[in-house]
């Protein structure tokens, strides 16, 4: 009999995340997943009615309630609704892609990834581990310890012309003897000019006693102006084993790169450098904890970031980025020891940073372009990375032209009365009843609404615009539904959620000022694309592929974005998302030396256009400050939806 027996503890591991968590027997499986940091979608909040939280039990047993959301076949295959299941024994649970929180978008990504992501690369990480068994020295064979290691590497793996870090030599005598003349050697190669005969010289960065080949991990990072993302990669299996994100600690010193540079001039670079290093260390701590990898087993750190973020991270004075003619310190920064910058990693770890083509088109864009495979294909591609700055690249495998413009923080929820980043409780979905003008909102995690994130903002304004509540100049039409459209402290506003329905206890509204900010931001991005496309003698109609990356990649509704005039009104099938392109590229070059070479090639291929010097840009910008655009003819599909015929 069960009675009041002591609850047994059970170990539950989640695949493919490869994370484990210990919970008492009888714990709800959805809660267990949340505790493990595995984000499972549960639109109904665990009531069992939506059927989005399906998982597969691979090992062990759960107690479950059958609902009509589960077919006979699914049930027999071991599929269960996490919210309806309780842990009975130790478990191995597989979380399929469609049950992850980013479901809809991830599905799309999975479908499109094969088309747009870089292909054709070999799994040849720049970082390798070689295990060698050395013959102990004798009077006949008394060459140095180092020569002994190198001799064996050459004999077994045909490695020659190696360079060796001094740090390796420092402890070498002890290491080889500790390992009983069996050691694992870690080598690193850097990029060479593609399609040249330039010789790659592997660098020995570490020698460990014994065979440690099974512990072969590296870190990939994206350092954004607003957020810092990090991942632990397992180079033996070629996969991500943990991901984490934190706000960039520099945020309190300014929202955009210009104000950060200004701050560094007034109050010193050190403070900003320390802030971002602290953030990097926090993220490292989180991903190591999640993945259960030891800091000592991390062999490399690959970072993509915009030029200013990288210079601040590396402690390089960013002053001249801000002053005409806008020069960065270096396009390619030589690898530097991570530890020397204060990053909590072992002494042998180098920080590799992506090459930056210019002051305002940085390594994050090179990384995104390489990750998207744009440089491999002949089709004319427009790559747009949206964040605090909008960066665009147009071109193909033969040429690339770039530009950048300031969009402001609106897309990340900044400068918006009830704006917030895309986390729990952020309104990211919206529809409006065309008759009653009553809203229907969706939030991240289906929590009670707390604010509006960038992608939500786009959906809201697109929806209100199509419903006629917002006019093309971004002002509300009055008198339609006085309950929802009312005069507030910042002019007219639309009530999305009333105080009783929110987490904040106050109304959540969207104001005319918010709409103005978004219109300015979207106008800058659109005008930037338009100006860039025109500067190479093309028109948007010629673009065969549009790749969107950045701040909201995963959650962005392309249709709404086109409706407000953020992106060109062309065939939706030409659009593809890649999410965080910068992180994607950092990951892929960690897996492939081919792509590492490509990054160098791409950075050299890029020709940068300064939009600040371009009179066309200003004109295009003003023309774009309207919904969807002053030129309806450029938005035929949106015009059709608005019931406005366009004469061709």
């Amino acid at each position: 009999m069960a009675g009041v027996a002591r609850k047994n503890l059970r170990k539950v591991s989640f695949e493919p995340d490869n994370v484990e968590v210990i919970v008492p027997e009888g714990t709800n499986l959805l809660e267990t997943a949340i505790k493990a940091g595995v984000r499972i979608s549960a639109s109904c909040g665990g009531a069992g009615v939506c059927g989005t939280c399906k998982v597969r039990v691979q090992k062990g047993e759960v107690e479950t309630k059958r609902t009509p959301k589960l077919s006979e076949e699914e049930f027999n295959r071991g599929t269960r609704q996490a919210c309806q299941s309780r842990v009975l024994t130790d478990l191995v649970i597989y979380v399929p892609v469609e049950s992850r929180l980013e479901k809809a978008v991830l599905n799309r990504e999975a479908k499109e990834a094969s088309e747009v992501l870089a292909g054709g690369w070999r799994f040849t990480p720049p970082l390798r581990k070689y295990y060698v068994e050395l013959s102990p020295p004798t009077l006949e064979d008394n060459i140095s310890d180092l020569s002994r290691v190198l001799r064996e590497l050459k004999r077994q793996y045909l490695l020659r012309d190696m360079t060796v870090d001094f740090d390796v030599v420092k402890n070498l005598a002890k290491v080889v003897r500790e390992g009983g003349w069996k050691v694992t050697v870690t080598t690193l190669v850097t990029a060479v000019k593609p399609s040249t005969q330039e010789k790659r010289r592997p660098r020995v960065i570490r020698v460990e006693p014994g065979d440690t080949r099974d512990k072969h991990y590296v870190l990939a990072f994206d350092i954004g102006t607003t957020t810092v993302w990090g991942q632990v990669l397992d180079l033996n299996r070629g996969k991500i084993i943990a991901t984490s994100v934190e706000f960039n600690g520099q945020i309190s010193y300014g929202q955009d790169v210009i104000s950060r540079i200004a701050y560094s001039q007034k109050h010193g670079l050190k403070k900003l450098q320390k802030a971002v290093i602290d953030t990097v260390n926090t993220v490292i701590g989180e991903v190591l904890a999640k993945s259960k990898v030891k800091a000592a087993d991390i062999s490399h750190l690959c970072i993509a970031g915009n030029t200013t973020m990288m210079q601040l991270l590396l402690g390089l004075d960013p002053r001249y980025i801000r002053l005409a003619p806008y020069t960065p310190v270096a396009n390619m920064v030589p690898p530097v020891k991570a530890k020397s910058l204060g990053i909590n990693l072992a002494e042998h770890v180098y920080l590799f940073s992506f090459p930056s083509p210019s002051s305002y088109v940085g390594g994050d864009i090179v990384s995104g372009v390489v990750g998207s495979g744009m440089h491999q294909r002949h089709e004319l591609t427009l790559f747009v990375d949206i964040g605090t700055n909008g960066e665009m690249v147009i071109g193909n495998s033969e040429w690339m032209v770039t530009a950048s413009c300031s969009a402001g923080p609106a897309f990340e929820g900044g400068g918006i009365k009830h704006g917030m980043v895309a986390t729990d409780g952020a309104i990211d979905d919206f529809t409006v009843d065309p008759k009653t003008l009553e809203p229907k909102i969706g939030t991240i995690n289906n929590s009670r609404p707390k604010g509006i994130c960038g992608s939500g903002l786009i959906k809201i304004i697109a929806g209100l615009f199509l419903a006629g509540v917002v006019e093309p100049n971004g002002k509300f039409r009055h008198g339609l539904n006085p309950d929802r459209v009312r005069e507030g402290t910042d002019g007219y506003e639309y009530v999305l959620a009333r105080a009783g329905e929110t987490q904040t206890g106050g109304d959540i509204v969207i104001t005319e000022v918010d709409i103005d900010n978004l219109i300015r931001a979207k106008a800058a991005i659109y005008a930037g694309c338009q100006t860039l496309v025109k500067s190479v003698g093309s028109s948007v109609a010629d673009i065969e592929r549009v790749i969107i990356a950045g701040a909201f990649g995963r959650h962005l509704d392309i249709e709404s974005a086109i409706t407000i005039g953020l992106f060109p009104d062309i065939d939706r099938r030409r659009y593809a998302y890649i999410g965080n392109g910068s992180l994607l590229g950092a990951r892929l070059v960690s897996f492939s030396t081919d792509l590492l070479d490509d990054a160098r090639k791409v950075a050299r291929m890029m020709t940068n256009f300064e939009l600040s010097e371009n009179t066309d840009f200003m004109n295009n910008y003003v023309a774009a400050m309207f919904l969807p655009h002053t030129n309806y003819a450029d938005f035929p599909e949106v015009a059709r939806k608005l019931g406005r015929g366009v004469r061709v």
């Binding site: 093309p472 004109n619 003003v622 023309a623 400050m625 309207f626 030129n631 309806y632 004469r647």
Partner: protein, 314 residues
Amino acid sequence: MAFEVPKNTYNGKIREITLGSGPSALKIGGETSYPLYIFEGAVPNKVKIAMEVWDTKPDDWPEAALEPFADVIADPVAWAKKCVDAYGAEAICLQLVSTDPNGANRGADEAAALVKKVADAISVPLIVWGTANHDKDTEVLRKVAEVCQGKTLAIGPVEEGDHKKIGAAAIGYNHTVVASTPIDINLAKQLNILLGNLGVSDDRIVMDPTVSSLGYGIEYCYSVMERVRQAALTQNDERLQFPFICNISREVWKTKEAKQPTAEAPELGDAARRGILMEAISATLLLVAGADLIIMRHPEAIKLVREVVNDLTG
């Protein structure tokens, strides 16, 4: 092979707008080619000149500008009649200077009553021009629209910030709207779209591109007007196919060069002649840029411009 003069091809046409009603109605616009390109298209209506009348006695006009109106300067009705009868004004623009809240701040009812009196007294169309203060213009021009129902006035400046309320009054009482934007093709187009969305009929819109005097950036106005016409005529941009109305005289006559007495600046020549020529040359530039109706002040300047118009339009 015979030489052929190269010609522009046009696929758009400027709308023909009728100002006023009945026997006093005046048509402007309607051209199918660049301004004055009579060898390429039709210019059915010559450029028209409206004369300005102030609703209050001006206190900062130079002598030369006051002189022709000295006998009527304190009576807007008589002033307007003199413009029509003595100088052949094709329209009158009544500038409601005294309604300015930073000036005399005259009330809407009083202003509207005066407009009505002037409108009743003249046989040409009336243009009514506010102070570009959105709140005050909304109040005054709405009243004017109501009181003058049936007169088919042109009322302005209607800007983005007050287009809804004034536009609605114009629709309700059947007047024409002077859509005014600050020297920018895109903003001009946006306002025209908004007015259209509001329900203002396309034959009730004229455009004020905002103009400035010779020596004070008129070349910039010229470029913007030129670009508007290019978009309207060669790209068939429907939301830019409206006639231009240019309120230039008050810009000219407030410049230092138009005001300085001869004694103060003898090197600039005779003050009266100087002011008249500045007005005439400014107006000429605007008509070359595409103006369809120009608001002017001095009868001598008007005479000169009429000669130019007749010479160029045949």
